[in-house]
Symmetry: C2
Subunit: 103 residues, 2 copies
């Protein structure tokens, strides 16, 4: 039953801002906070909230470092995050396919 499959979509990944964050992090070794913010087009506070949620779920790591004297926040997807994201995309694909067959 795909209705149950829909309800099993990982709520940590399903939120659009977090999905947008992960769609960037999946492609790079890491990305800094400012790059993510500008790529996605969200506020500092909004990005920060979603990154913290992803970090507390073990999906991303957030590291505060310095580039010269300038502080920067470096984000990366974890192996667990990579697996969770791929699994989510597979589920999404199955949902889309099952819906298309209904049309």
């Amino acid at each position: 039953m795909d209705q149950h499959q829909i309800l099993q979509l990982d709520p940590i990944i399903h939120a659009p801002t977090r999905l947008a964050i992960l769609s960037i992090l999946i492609t790079v070794e890491n990305a800094n906070f400012t790059f993510l913010k500008e790529s996605i087009g969200v506020t500092d506070g909004n990005l920060s909230t979603h990154l913290t949620k992803l970090e507390s779920s073990g999906i991303v790591t957030i590291e505060k470092t310095f580039k010269g004297k300038k502080p920067q926040t470096i984000c990366a997807i974890t192996d667990k995050g990579r697996d969770a994201f791929k699994n989510y995309l597979d589920q999404l694909e199955q949902i889309v396919q099952s819906q298309k067959h209904k049309k």
Copy 2:
């Protein structure tokens, strides 16, 4: 930029319970409340909240009628809802495809 596309996903449809409701209603002329509840596996209160949200967005209609002496609640997707749901699925498909090409 698919990050912006992700943020444009219709929040009314994106919530998993509402997505599950619409995945049923898209296939039938109408469905009663009990059928939806049992198919999706949610509580009365939860289903009711999500149906009301879909109704106030013009995506479903909710009609209270009687079957004999037994009251029943009949739900159906509107033309606007049908278009919005198909559009949402197209966006989802594009997101999945663009992510797959990144792998």
